[in-house]
Amino acid sequence: MSNIAAKAKELLESNAVQVVIGYEVGPTGVVRPAFVTDSAKTDSFIYNENCLQNLAMYLTKHEVKHFGKMGIVATLPVMRSIMMLISEQQVVSENIVVLGISDDGKLLDFADLSVMHAHIEKSNLGNPTKDQERLAELNKLSIEEKFNFWEQELSKCIKCYACRQSCPMCYCIRCSTDCNQPQWIPVQSNTQGNLDWHVLRAMHLAGRCISCGECGRACPVNIPCHLLTMQLADQTYNYFKVHAGTSQDMKSVMSTFEPNDKESFII
Protein backbone atom coordinates (compact mmCIF):
# COMPACT_ATOMS: atom_id res chain seq x y z
CA MET A 1 0.00 0.00 0.00
CA SER A 2 1.34 3.42 -0.94
CA ASN A 3 1.87 6.14 1.66
CA ILE A 4 -1.05 8.12 0.25
CA ALA A 5 -3.38 5.14 0.40
CA ALA A 6 -2.31 4.38 3.98
CA LYS A 7 -2.71 7.97 5.11
CA ALA A 8 -6.10 8.24 3.39
CA LYS A 9 -7.23 5.00 5.03
CA GLU A 10 -6.15 6.27 8.44
CA LEU A 11 -7.99 9.60 7.94
CA LEU A 12 -11.19 7.90 6.81
CA GLU A 13 -11.09 5.21 9.52
CA SER A 14 -10.61 7.76 12.29
CA ASN A 15 -13.37 9.87 10.73
CA ALA A 16 -10.98 12.85 10.59
CA VAL A 17 -12.30 13.34 7.05
CA GLN A 18 -15.28 11.92 5.15
CA VAL A 19 -13.76 12.04 1.67
CA VAL A 20 -10.23 12.01 0.27
CA ILE A 21 -9.55 13.68 -3.07
CA GLY A 22 -6.60 12.22 -4.96
CA TYR A 23 -5.60 10.67 -8.28
CA GLU A 24 -6.37 7.30 -9.88
CA VAL A 25 -5.75 5.71 -13.27
CA GLY A 26 -8.86 5.28 -15.44
CA PRO A 27 -9.46 2.21 -17.65
CA THR A 28 -7.84 3.86 -20.68
CA GLY A 29 -4.69 4.58 -18.66
CA VAL A 30 -5.45 8.27 -18.14
CA VAL A 31 -4.72 9.78 -14.71
CA ARG A 32 -7.81 11.45 -13.28
CA PRO A 33 -9.24 12.69 -9.99
CA ALA A 34 -10.62 10.15 -7.54
CA PHE A 35 -12.92 10.66 -4.55
CA VAL A 36 -12.76 7.96 -1.91
CA THR A 37 -15.22 7.86 0.98
CA ASP A 38 -14.72 4.23 2.02
CA SER A 39 -11.57 3.41 4.01
CA ALA A 40 -11.44 -0.02 2.34
CA LYS A 41 -11.09 1.55 -1.10
CA THR A 42 -8.07 3.81 -0.77
CA ASP A 43 -5.86 1.41 -2.74
CA SER A 44 -6.90 3.05 -6.01
CA PHE A 45 -4.90 6.19 -5.13
CA ILE A 46 -1.73 6.67 -7.11
CA TYR A 47 0.85 9.37 -7.48
CA ASN A 48 3.21 9.86 -10.44
CA GLU A 49 4.48 12.61 -12.75
CA ASN A 50 1.18 12.57 -14.69
CA CYS A 51 -0.77 13.74 -11.64
CA LEU A 52 -0.90 17.32 -12.86
CA GLN A 53 -4.53 18.37 -12.47
CA ASN A 54 -5.09 21.01 -9.81
CA LEU A 55 -7.47 19.20 -7.45
CA ALA A 56 -8.17 22.31 -5.36
CA MET A 57 -11.10 23.23 -7.63
CA TYR A 58 -13.07 20.39 -6.03
CA LEU A 59 -12.85 21.98 -2.57
CA THR A 60 -15.55 24.46 -3.61
CA LYS A 61 -17.68 21.98 -5.56
CA HIS A 62 -21.06 21.51 -3.91
CA GLU A 63 -21.31 17.72 -4.21
CA VAL A 64 -17.79 17.16 -2.89
CA LYS A 65 -18.18 19.57 0.05
CA HIS A 66 -21.42 17.77 0.82
CA PHE A 67 -19.46 14.74 2.14
CA GLY A 68 -18.10 16.79 5.08
CA LYS A 69 -14.45 17.22 5.91
CA MET A 70 -12.14 16.70 2.96
CA GLY A 71 -8.65 15.26 2.70
CA ILE A 72 -6.80 16.38 -0.41
CA VAL A 73 -3.63 15.17 -2.11
CA ALA A 74 -1.72 18.38 -2.72
CA THR A 75 1.30 19.18 -4.81
CA LEU A 76 2.70 22.71 -4.56
CA PRO A 77 0.11 24.34 -6.91
CA VAL A 78 -2.71 22.67 -4.96
CA MET A 79 -1.23 23.89 -1.64
CA ARG A 80 -1.02 27.42 -2.99
CA SER A 81 -4.59 27.24 -4.30
CA ILE A 82 -5.72 26.12 -0.85
CA MET A 83 -4.01 29.15 0.71
CA MET A 84 -5.72 31.43 -1.81
CA LEU A 85 -9.12 29.83 -1.20
CA ILE A 86 -8.75 30.21 2.57
CA SER A 87 -7.56 33.82 2.26
CA GLU A 88 -10.57 34.56 0.04
CA GLN A 89 -12.86 32.83 2.53
CA GLN A 90 -13.98 30.08 0.16
CA VAL A 91 -12.60 27.22 2.23
CA VAL A 92 -12.54 26.87 6.00
CA SER A 93 -9.18 25.51 7.13
CA GLU A 94 -10.80 23.29 9.81
CA ASN A 95 -12.69 21.46 7.04
CA ILE A 96 -9.66 20.19 5.18
CA VAL A 97 -6.69 17.94 5.77
CA VAL A 98 -3.81 18.37 3.34
CA LEU A 99 -1.85 15.31 2.20
CA GLY A 100 1.11 17.28 0.90
CA ILE A 101 3.36 15.90 -1.84
CA SER A 102 6.94 17.14 -2.09
CA ASP A 103 8.56 18.03 -5.41
CA ASP A 104 10.17 14.58 -5.47
CA GLY A 105 6.85 12.83 -4.87
CA LYS A 106 7.09 12.10 -1.14
CA LEU A 107 4.19 12.39 1.27
CA LEU A 108 4.63 15.37 3.59
CA ASP A 109 3.25 15.56 7.07
CA PHE A 110 1.60 18.91 7.66
CA ALA A 111 0.54 19.17 11.30
CA ASP A 112 -1.19 22.42 10.48
CA LEU A 113 -1.27 25.19 7.91
CA SER A 114 1.72 27.00 9.38
CA VAL A 115 3.87 23.99 8.42
CA MET A 116 2.41 24.09 4.92
CA HIS A 117 3.09 27.83 4.82
CA ALA A 118 6.73 27.19 5.69
CA HIS A 119 6.96 24.53 2.98
CA ILE A 120 5.48 26.88 0.36
CA GLU A 121 7.78 29.73 1.40
CA LYS A 122 10.89 27.68 0.70
CA SER A 123 9.63 26.45 -2.68
CA ASN A 124 10.18 27.98 -6.10
CA LEU A 125 7.14 30.17 -6.62
CA GLY A 126 7.82 31.60 -10.08
CA ASN A 127 6.15 30.31 -13.23
CA PRO A 128 7.27 26.83 -14.38
CA THR A 129 10.46 27.13 -16.45
CA LYS A 130 9.00 25.99 -19.77
CA ASP A 131 6.15 28.48 -19.51
CA GLN A 132 8.47 31.29 -18.41
CA GLU A 133 10.68 30.59 -21.44
CA ARG A 134 7.69 30.72 -23.76
CA LEU A 135 6.59 34.00 -22.20
CA ALA A 136 10.09 35.43 -22.69
CA GLU A 137 9.85 34.50 -26.38
CA LEU A 138 6.42 36.12 -26.70
CA ASN A 139 7.59 39.25 -24.90
CA LYS A 140 10.27 39.75 -27.54
CA LEU A 141 7.53 40.30 -30.15
CA SER A 142 6.20 43.70 -31.14
CA ILE A 143 2.72 44.69 -29.97
CA GLU A 144 1.29 43.92 -33.42
CA GLU A 145 2.98 40.53 -33.55
CA LYS A 146 1.73 39.68 -30.05
CA PHE A 147 -1.77 40.71 -31.00
CA ASN A 148 -1.62 38.56 -34.14
CA PHE A 149 -0.39 35.61 -32.08
CA TRP A 150 -3.28 35.87 -29.63
CA GLU A 151 -5.83 36.61 -32.31
CA GLN A 152 -4.77 33.42 -34.10
CA GLU A 153 -4.78 31.32 -30.93
CA LEU A 154 -8.07 32.69 -29.63
CA SER A 155 -9.81 32.18 -32.96
CA LYS A 156 -9.77 28.46 -32.03
CA CYS A 157 -11.77 29.10 -28.84
CA ILE A 158 -15.21 27.46 -28.72
CA LYS A 159 -16.27 29.11 -25.43
CA CYS A 160 -16.62 25.81 -23.61
CA TYR A 161 -15.23 27.55 -20.51
CA ALA A 162 -13.04 24.58 -19.57
CA CYS A 163 -10.41 27.21 -18.64
CA ARG A 164 -12.79 28.77 -16.14
CA GLN A 165 -14.23 25.53 -14.80
CA SER A 166 -10.85 23.88 -14.23
CA CYS A 167 -9.44 26.85 -12.30
CA PRO A 168 -9.64 26.67 -8.50
CA MET A 169 -9.74 30.46 -8.34
CA CYS A 170 -12.74 30.70 -10.71
CA TYR A 171 -15.20 29.67 -8.05
CA CYS A 172 -17.92 32.30 -8.61
CA ILE A 173 -21.35 30.70 -8.64
CA ARG A 174 -22.35 33.22 -11.27
CA CYS A 175 -19.53 34.38 -13.53
CA SER A 176 -19.77 37.90 -14.96
CA THR A 177 -19.76 36.34 -18.42
CA ASP A 178 -23.05 34.60 -17.54
CA CYS A 179 -24.70 37.97 -16.98
CA ASN A 180 -26.67 39.24 -19.98
CA GLN A 181 -28.35 42.38 -18.66
CA PRO A 182 -26.08 44.16 -19.24
CA GLN A 183 -24.01 41.77 -21.30
CA TRP A 184 -20.40 42.45 -20.31
CA ILE A 185 -18.93 39.79 -22.54
CA PRO A 186 -20.42 38.75 -25.90
CA VAL A 187 -21.74 35.18 -25.69
CA GLN A 188 -20.77 34.48 -29.27
CA SER A 189 -17.56 32.64 -29.97
CA ASN A 190 -15.94 34.88 -32.56
CA THR A 191 -12.71 36.86 -32.49
CA GLN A 192 -14.15 39.78 -30.51
CA GLY A 193 -16.13 37.60 -28.11
CA ASN A 194 -13.21 35.24 -27.51
CA LEU A 195 -10.73 38.06 -26.97
CA ASP A 196 -13.05 39.83 -24.53
CA TRP A 197 -13.56 36.63 -22.56
CA HIS A 198 -9.89 35.69 -22.25
CA VAL A 199 -8.84 39.22 -21.30
CA LEU A 200 -11.56 39.38 -18.64
CA ARG A 201 -10.57 35.98 -17.26
CA ALA A 202 -6.90 36.88 -17.11
CA MET A 203 -7.55 40.23 -15.43
CA HIS A 204 -9.71 38.62 -12.76
CA LEU A 205 -6.79 36.33 -11.97
CA ALA A 206 -4.15 39.04 -11.71
CA GLY A 207 -2.46 38.58 -8.33
CA ARG A 208 -4.53 35.43 -7.74
CA CYS A 209 -3.13 33.00 -10.33
CA ILE A 210 -0.81 30.48 -8.70
CA SER A 211 0.74 29.37 -12.03
CA CYS A 212 -0.54 25.78 -12.07
CA GLY A 213 -1.29 25.91 -15.82
CA GLU A 214 -4.54 24.00 -15.37
CA CYS A 215 -6.54 26.27 -17.74
CA GLY A 216 -4.15 25.57 -20.61
CA ARG A 217 -4.15 21.83 -19.88
CA ALA A 218 -7.94 21.69 -19.78
CA CYS A 219 -8.41 23.52 -23.10
CA PRO A 220 -9.69 20.99 -25.67
CA VAL A 221 -8.24 23.01 -28.56
CA ASN A 222 -4.81 23.64 -27.02
CA ILE A 223 -4.98 27.42 -26.57
CA PRO A 224 -2.08 28.34 -24.25
CA CYS A 225 -4.41 30.55 -22.19
CA HIS A 226 -2.33 29.85 -19.05
CA LEU A 227 0.33 32.13 -20.53
CA LEU A 228 -2.03 35.09 -20.15
CA THR A 229 -2.52 34.54 -16.43
CA MET A 230 1.13 33.58 -15.89
CA GLN A 231 2.24 36.82 -17.54
CA LEU A 232 0.11 38.69 -15.01
CA ALA A 233 1.44 36.55 -12.14
CA ASP A 234 4.92 37.54 -13.23
CA GLN A 235 4.00 41.21 -13.51
CA THR A 236 2.27 41.41 -10.13
CA TYR A 237 5.37 39.85 -8.57
CA ASN A 238 7.62 42.37 -10.30
CA TYR A 239 5.51 45.28 -9.06
CA PHE A 240 4.63 44.13 -5.56
CA LYS A 241 7.08 41.31 -4.74
CA VAL A 242 4.19 39.11 -3.69
CA HIS A 243 3.48 35.60 -4.92
CA ALA A 244 -0.13 34.44 -4.77
CA GLY A 245 -1.06 31.62 -2.40
CA THR A 246 1.70 31.62 0.16
CA SER A 247 -0.26 32.13 3.35
CA GLN A 248 -3.82 31.83 4.56
CA ASP A 249 -4.08 35.45 5.61
CA MET A 250 -2.45 37.19 2.69
CA LYS A 251 -4.20 40.25 1.35
CA SER A 252 -5.34 40.42 -2.23
CA VAL A 253 -2.72 42.27 -4.24
CA MET A 254 -5.13 43.96 -6.61
CA SER A 255 -7.70 45.06 -4.05
CA THR A 256 -5.53 46.21 -1.18
CA PHE A 257 -4.09 49.69 -0.96
CA GLU A 258 -0.92 50.51 0.95
CA PRO A 259 0.36 54.09 1.17
CA ASN A 260 3.81 52.99 0.05
CA ASP A 261 2.57 51.07 -3.04
CA LYS A 262 4.54 51.79 -6.16
CA GLU A 263 2.33 53.48 -8.73
CA SER A 264 4.74 53.30 -11.63
CA PHE A 265 2.25 51.32 -13.72
CA ILE A 266 -0.30 54.14 -13.72
CA ILE A 267 -0.05 55.89 -17.05
Binding site: T28, I158, K159, V187
Partner: protein
Protein backbone atom coordinates in the same frame (compact mmCIF):
# COMPACT_ATOMS: atom_id res chain seq x y z
CA UNK B 1 -31.09 5.44 -56.28
CA UNK B 2 -29.25 2.16 -56.47
CA UNK B 3 -25.71 2.18 -55.08
CA UNK B 4 -23.00 2.45 -57.74
CA UNK B 5 -19.50 1.18 -57.05
CA UNK B 6 -16.42 2.69 -58.74
CA UNK B 7 -12.68 2.73 -58.22
CA UNK B 8 -10.63 5.89 -57.94
CA UNK B 9 -6.82 5.65 -58.02
CA UNK B 10 -4.93 7.46 -55.24
CA UNK B 11 -3.24 9.69 -57.85
CA UNK B 12 -6.66 10.79 -59.16
CA UNK B 13 -7.88 12.09 -55.80
CA UNK B 14 -5.91 15.31 -56.15
CA UNK B 15 -7.55 15.99 -59.52
CA UNK B 16 -11.00 15.37 -58.06
CA UNK B 17 -10.25 17.59 -55.05
CA UNK B 18 -8.88 20.49 -57.09
CA UNK B 19 -11.75 20.28 -59.56
CA UNK B 20 -14.25 20.51 -56.71
CA UNK B 21 -12.25 23.27 -54.93
CA UNK B 22 -12.18 25.38 -58.08
CA UNK B 23 -15.94 25.89 -58.13
CA UNK B 24 -17.16 25.49 -54.54
CA UNK B 25 -16.31 25.39 -50.86
CA UNK B 26 -14.62 22.13 -49.91
CA UNK B 27 -14.24 21.44 -46.18
CA UNK B 28 -11.46 18.95 -45.52
CA UNK B 29 -9.34 17.67 -42.61
CA UNK B 30 -5.76 18.88 -42.13
CA UNK B 31 -3.18 18.53 -39.37
CA UNK B 32 -2.81 21.79 -37.40
CA UNK B 33 0.59 22.96 -36.14
CA UNK B 34 -0.06 21.33 -32.74
CA UNK B 35 -0.85 17.93 -34.40
CA UNK B 36 -4.57 18.22 -33.77
CA UNK B 37 -6.78 17.52 -36.77
CA UNK B 38 -9.05 20.35 -37.83
CA UNK B 39 -11.22 20.98 -40.87
CA UNK B 40 -10.39 23.86 -43.20
CA UNK B 41 -12.17 25.38 -46.19
CA UNK B 42 -10.34 24.78 -49.47
CA UNK B 43 -6.91 23.79 -48.16
CA UNK B 44 -4.17 22.80 -50.61
CA UNK B 45 -4.55 19.10 -51.45
CA UNK B 46 -1.06 18.40 -50.06
CA UNK B 47 -2.32 19.47 -46.62
CA UNK B 48 -5.37 17.20 -46.62
CA UNK B 49 -5.03 14.12 -44.44
CA UNK B 50 -6.39 10.66 -45.19
CA UNK B 51 -4.68 9.21 -42.14
CA UNK B 52 -6.45 10.94 -39.27
CA UNK B 53 -8.42 9.07 -36.65
CA UNK B 54 -10.54 11.97 -35.50
CA UNK B 55 -10.61 15.76 -35.67
CA UNK B 56 -10.85 17.57 -32.31
CA UNK B 57 -14.07 19.31 -33.29
CA UNK B 58 -16.85 17.59 -35.17
CA UNK B 59 -18.08 18.84 -38.54
CA UNK B 60 -21.56 19.76 -37.34
CA UNK B 61 -20.65 23.42 -37.85
CA UNK B 62 -21.32 23.12 -41.61
CA UNK B 63 -25.02 22.76 -40.81
CA UNK B 64 -25.04 24.26 -37.31
CA UNK B 65 -22.38 26.99 -37.08
CA UNK B 66 -21.11 27.94 -33.63
CA UNK B 67 -22.56 31.41 -34.22
CA UNK B 68 -25.38 31.99 -36.73
CA UNK B 69 -27.23 35.23 -37.43
CA UNK B 70 -31.01 34.76 -37.37
CA UNK B 71 -32.11 38.29 -38.26
CA UNK B 72 -31.13 41.95 -38.22
CA UNK B 73 -33.28 44.68 -36.71
CA UNK B 74 -33.52 48.45 -36.45
CA UNK B 75 -35.29 49.92 -33.46
CA UNK B 76 -37.39 52.96 -34.21
CA UNK B 77 -39.24 55.03 -31.61
CA UNK B 78 -42.36 52.90 -31.55
CA UNK B 79 -41.52 49.95 -33.74
CA UNK B 80 -38.77 47.71 -35.04
CA UNK B 81 -37.92 46.87 -38.62
CA UNK B 82 -36.77 43.32 -39.15
CA UNK B 83 -34.54 42.13 -41.98
CA UNK B 84 -34.49 38.39 -42.54
CA UNK B 85 -31.40 36.45 -43.49
CA UNK B 86 -31.26 35.58 -47.17
CA UNK B 87 -31.05 31.82 -47.03
CA UNK B 88 -30.54 31.54 -50.78
CA UNK B 89 -27.02 32.89 -50.19
CA UNK B 90 -26.00 29.82 -48.20
CA UNK B 91 -23.29 28.26 -50.35
CA UNK B 92 -22.93 24.66 -51.44
CA UNK B 93 -20.33 22.88 -49.31
CA UNK B 94 -18.56 19.66 -50.12
CA UNK B 95 -17.48 17.86 -46.97
CA UNK B 96 -14.42 15.81 -47.83
CA UNK B 97 -12.95 12.90 -45.88
CA UNK B 98 -15.28 12.93 -42.89
CA UNK B 99 -15.73 9.60 -41.15
CA UNK B 100 -18.96 7.53 -41.05
CA UNK B 101 -19.71 8.48 -37.42
CA UNK B 102 -19.74 12.17 -38.35
CA UNK B 103 -21.77 11.59 -41.49
CA UNK B 104 -24.38 9.57 -39.55
CA UNK B 105 -24.71 12.50 -37.16
CA UNK B 106 -26.53 14.64 -39.73
CA UNK B 107 -29.54 12.34 -39.48
CA UNK B 108 -29.47 12.70 -35.69
CA UNK B 109 -29.31 16.49 -35.96
CA UNK B 110 -32.15 16.40 -38.48
CA UNK B 111 -34.30 14.44 -36.04
CA UNK B 112 -33.88 17.39 -33.64
CA UNK B 113 -33.88 20.43 -35.93
CA UNK B 114 -36.67 19.14 -38.17
CA UNK B 115 -38.61 17.26 -35.49
CA UNK B 116 -41.83 19.27 -35.71
CA UNK B 117 -41.17 22.75 -37.05
CA UNK B 118 -38.49 22.68 -39.71
CA UNK B 119 -35.49 24.84 -38.77
CA UNK B 120 -34.95 26.66 -42.06
CA UNK B 121 -31.35 27.61 -41.38
CA UNK B 122 -30.34 24.05 -40.60
CA UNK B 123 -32.45 22.53 -43.40
CA UNK B 124 -31.00 24.88 -46.02
CA UNK B 125 -27.43 24.18 -44.96
CA UNK B 126 -28.08 20.43 -45.01
CA UNK B 127 -29.67 20.70 -48.47
CA UNK B 128 -26.53 22.46 -49.72
CA UNK B 129 -24.19 19.87 -48.23
CA UNK B 130 -22.55 17.10 -50.24
CA UNK B 131 -20.70 14.50 -48.19
CA UNK B 132 -17.73 12.56 -49.58
CA UNK B 133 -17.07 10.34 -46.60
CA UNK B 134 -14.00 8.29 -45.81
CA UNK B 135 -14.43 4.87 -44.18
CA UNK B 136 -12.11 4.39 -41.19
CA UNK B 137 -9.07 2.23 -41.75
CA UNK B 138 -7.78 2.95 -38.26
CA UNK B 139 -9.28 3.64 -34.84
CA UNK B 140 -8.23 4.30 -31.25
CA UNK B 141 -9.34 3.26 -27.74
CA UNK B 142 -11.97 6.03 -27.64
CA UNK B 143 -13.87 4.91 -30.78
CA UNK B 144 -17.10 3.01 -30.06
CA UNK B 145 -19.26 3.28 -33.21
CA UNK B 146 -19.97 -0.47 -33.12
CA UNK B 147 -21.62 -0.05 -29.70
CA UNK B 148 -24.17 2.45 -31.04
CA UNK B 149 -25.28 0.47 -34.07
CA UNK B 150 -22.78 1.83 -36.59
CA UNK B 151 -19.59 0.50 -38.17
CA UNK B 152 -16.31 2.06 -39.36
CA UNK B 153 -17.78 1.94 -42.87
CA UNK B 154 -21.43 2.83 -42.25
CA UNK B 155 -22.85 4.48 -45.32
CA UNK B 156 -25.51 6.60 -43.57
CA UNK B 157 -25.23 10.30 -44.35
CA UNK B 158 -22.63 9.94 -47.10
CA UNK B 159 -23.39 10.88 -50.71
CA UNK B 160 -20.18 9.12 -51.68
CA UNK B 161 -18.15 6.89 -49.36
CA UNK B 162 -14.47 6.23 -50.07
CA UNK B 163 -12.91 3.06 -48.67
CA UNK B 164 -9.17 2.50 -48.87
CA UNK B 165 -7.97 -0.65 -50.62
CA UNK B 166 -4.87 -2.59 -49.67
CA UNK B 167 -2.87 -0.96 -52.47
CA UNK B 168 -3.94 2.56 -51.39
CA UNK B 169 -6.55 3.23 -54.08
CA UNK B 170 -10.13 3.94 -53.06
CA UNK B 171 -13.45 2.24 -53.73
CA UNK B 172 -16.11 4.93 -54.14
CA UNK B 173 -19.67 3.93 -53.37
CA UNK B 174 -22.21 6.43 -54.69
CA UNK B 175 -25.56 6.52 -52.92
CA UNK B 176 -27.33 9.71 -53.98
CA UNK B 177 -27.98 11.94 -56.97
CA UNK B 178 -25.81 14.61 -55.33
CA UNK B 179 -22.94 12.14 -55.23
CA UNK B 180 -23.64 10.94 -58.73
CA UNK B 181 -23.45 14.51 -60.08
CA UNK B 182 -19.94 14.86 -58.69
CA UNK B 183 -18.83 11.55 -60.19
CA UNK B 184 -20.46 12.34 -63.52
CA UNK B 185 -18.66 15.69 -63.73
CA UNK B 186 -15.28 13.92 -63.33
CA UNK B 187 -16.16 10.60 -64.90
CA UNK B 188 -12.69 10.21 -66.43
CA UNK B 189 -11.26 9.79 -62.89
CA UNK B 190 -13.44 6.82 -61.98
CA UNK B 191 -12.93 3.26 -63.19
CA UNK B 192 -14.78 -0.01 -62.88
CA UNK B 193 -14.07 -1.49 -59.43
CA UNK B 194 -11.67 -4.42 -59.05
CA UNK B 195 -12.05 -7.06 -56.39
CA UNK B 196 -9.23 -5.81 -54.22
CA UNK B 197 -9.83 -6.05 -50.50
CA UNK B 198 -10.59 -2.87 -48.58
CA UNK B 199 -8.97 -1.98 -45.24
CA UNK B 200 -11.46 -1.39 -42.44
CA UNK B 201 -10.64 -0.46 -38.86
CA UNK B 202 -11.50 -2.79 -36.04
CA UNK B 203 -13.69 -1.25 -33.37
CA UNK B 204 -14.62 -3.50 -30.48
CA UNK B 205 -18.18 -3.35 -29.21
CA UNK B 206 -18.12 -2.36 -25.53
CA UNK B 207 -21.82 -2.12 -24.64
CA UNK B 208 -25.27 -2.81 -26.03
CA UNK B 209 -27.09 0.47 -26.53
CA UNK B 210 -30.55 -1.09 -26.42
CA UNK B 211 -29.81 -2.55 -23.01
CA UNK B 212 -28.51 0.83 -21.84
CA UNK B 213 -31.69 2.54 -23.04
CA UNK B 214 -33.75 -0.06 -21.20
CA UNK B 215 -31.73 0.39 -17.97
CA UNK B 216 -32.03 4.17 -18.13
CA UNK B 217 -35.84 3.98 -17.91
CA UNK B 218 -35.58 3.27 -14.20
CA UNK B 219 -32.19 4.81 -13.41
CA UNK B 220 -33.17 8.44 -12.82
CA UNK B 221 -32.66 8.34 -9.05
CA UNK B 222 -29.75 5.87 -9.09
CA UNK B 223 -26.67 6.79 -6.96
CA UNK B 224 -24.59 6.10 -10.09
CA UNK B 225 -24.93 9.71 -11.26
CA UNK B 226 -23.38 11.37 -8.22
CA UNK B 227 -20.67 8.73 -7.80
CA UNK B 228 -19.60 8.95 -11.42
CA UNK B 229 -19.72 12.69 -11.95
CA UNK B 230 -17.84 13.99 -8.90
CA UNK B 231 -14.87 14.76 -11.09
CA UNK B 232 -16.94 16.52 -13.80
CA UNK B 233 -15.96 20.20 -13.71
CA UNK B 234 -19.04 21.43 -15.58
CA UNK B 235 -17.43 22.83 -18.72
CA UNK B 236 -18.99 22.53 -22.16
CA UNK B 237 -16.12 20.75 -23.91
CA UNK B 238 -18.04 17.47 -24.38
CA UNK B 239 -21.08 19.20 -25.89
CA UNK B 240 -19.08 21.49 -28.15
CA UNK B 241 -16.92 18.77 -29.68
CA UNK B 242 -19.97 16.48 -30.06
CA UNK B 243 -21.38 15.97 -33.58
CA UNK B 244 -24.95 15.51 -32.33
CA UNK B 245 -25.31 18.02 -29.48
CA UNK B 246 -27.75 20.60 -30.83
CA UNK B 247 -28.54 22.97 -27.96
CA UNK B 248 -28.21 26.65 -28.64
CA UNK B 249 -28.68 29.99 -26.94
CA UNK B 250 -30.31 33.00 -28.60
CA UNK B 251 -29.02 36.51 -27.92
CA UNK B 252 -29.73 39.99 -29.21
CA UNK B 253 -26.77 42.26 -29.74
CA UNK B 254 -27.71 45.91 -30.18
CA UNK B 255 -25.47 48.83 -31.01
CA UNK B 256 -27.41 52.09 -31.02
CA UNK B 257 -30.56 51.49 -33.06
CA UNK B 258 -29.14 48.59 -35.06
CA UNK B 259 -28.85 45.05 -33.89
CA UNK B 260 -28.83 41.41 -34.75
CA UNK B 261 -30.25 38.27 -33.24
CA UNK B 262 -27.99 35.26 -33.33
CA UNK B 263 -27.79 31.79 -31.92
CA UNK B 264 -24.67 30.17 -30.54
CA UNK B 265 -23.86 26.73 -29.17
CA UNK B 266 -24.91 26.04 -25.61
CA UNK B 267 -24.36 23.11 -23.27
CA UNK B 268 -26.49 21.31 -20.69
CA UNK B 269 -23.28 20.92 -18.67
CA UNK B 270 -23.41 24.58 -17.64
CA UNK B 271 -25.32 25.55 -14.48
CA UNK B 272 -26.65 28.61 -16.32
CA UNK B 273 -28.34 26.38 -18.90
CA UNK B 274 -31.39 25.70 -16.73
CA UNK B 275 -31.25 28.69 -14.39
CA UNK B 276 -34.68 30.33 -14.13
CA UNK B 277 -35.21 34.09 -13.86
CA UNK B 278 -36.53 33.49 -10.35
CA UNK B 279 -33.15 32.12 -9.29
CA UNK B 280 -34.44 28.55 -9.05
CA UNK B 281 -32.37 25.99 -10.90
CA UNK B 282 -34.06 22.63 -11.55
CA UNK B 283 -30.65 21.09 -12.26
CA UNK B 284 -28.77 22.65 -9.40
CA UNK B 285 -25.83 20.26 -9.13
CA UNK B 286 -23.44 18.78 -11.69
CA UNK B 287 -24.59 15.17 -11.30
CA UNK B 288 -28.05 16.19 -12.53
CA UNK B 289 -26.49 17.84 -15.57
CA UNK B 290 -24.34 14.81 -16.33
CA UNK B 291 -27.41 12.59 -16.00
CA UNK B 292 -29.24 14.86 -18.44
CA UNK B 293 -26.45 14.49 -20.99
CA UNK B 294 -26.58 10.67 -20.91
CA UNK B 295 -30.37 10.47 -20.55
CA UNK B 296 -30.96 12.81 -23.48
CA UNK B 297 -28.75 10.85 -25.83
CA UNK B 298 -29.60 7.32 -24.75
CA UNK B 299 -33.14 7.51 -23.38
CA UNK B 300 -35.12 10.60 -24.40
CA UNK B 301 -33.95 10.67 -28.00
CA UNK B 302 -34.62 7.00 -28.78
CA UNK B 303 -38.00 7.52 -27.14
CA UNK B 304 -39.05 10.78 -28.84
CA UNK B 305 -36.91 11.20 -31.96
CA UNK B 306 -36.50 7.52 -32.79
CA UNK B 307 -32.78 8.05 -33.10
CA UNK B 308 -29.91 7.50 -30.71
CA UNK B 309 -28.21 10.77 -29.77
CA UNK B 310 -24.70 9.35 -30.06
CA UNK B 311 -22.62 8.12 -33.00
CA UNK B 312 -19.65 6.74 -31.03
CA UNK B 313 -16.98 9.13 -32.32
CA UNK B 314 -15.44 9.37 -28.82
CA UNK B 315 -14.59 13.08 -29.09
CA UNK B 316 -16.19 13.95 -25.74
CA UNK B 317 -13.93 11.46 -23.99
CA UNK B 318 -10.78 12.53 -25.86
CA UNK B 319 -11.51 16.18 -25.15
CA UNK B 320 -12.60 15.90 -21.51
CA UNK B 321 -10.05 17.47 -19.15
CA UNK B 322 -10.99 15.01 -16.38
CA UNK B 323 -11.51 11.74 -18.30
CA UNK B 324 -15.32 11.51 -18.12
CA UNK B 325 -15.13 8.55 -20.49
CA UNK B 326 -18.59 8.04 -21.95
CA UNK B 327 -18.03 4.51 -23.22
CA UNK B 328 -16.80 3.44 -19.76
CA UNK B 329 -19.85 5.05 -18.14
CA UNK B 330 -22.27 3.38 -20.54
CA UNK B 331 -20.68 -0.02 -19.92
CA UNK B 332 -21.19 0.56 -16.21
CA UNK B 333 -24.78 1.75 -16.72
CA UNK B 334 -25.60 -1.38 -18.68
CA UNK B 335 -24.74 -3.37 -15.56
CA UNK B 336 -26.36 -1.33 -12.79
Amino acid sequence: METIKKLIRKQSLEKLFTTLSASRKVYAPVFAADKRVEYKYNPAFAEVTFEHIQSTLSVKNVVFPKVENLMYYTNNKVDSTITDIDLTKIPEVVLWGSHPCDNSAYDVLKSIFCWDIKDEFFAKRLEKLVVIGLACHQSDAYCFCTSVGLTPNSTKGSDILLSKTKSGDYIAEIFTEKGNAIVAASSDLFEQPNNEEIVIAEVKQTFNHEQVTEKLKTAFEHPFWVANSLRCIGCGACAYVCPTCACFDIQDETKGKEGRRYRSWDSCGFSLFTLHTSGHNPREVQSQRWRQRIMHKFSYMPDRNESLGCVGCGRCSRGCPVDMNISEQLQALQNI
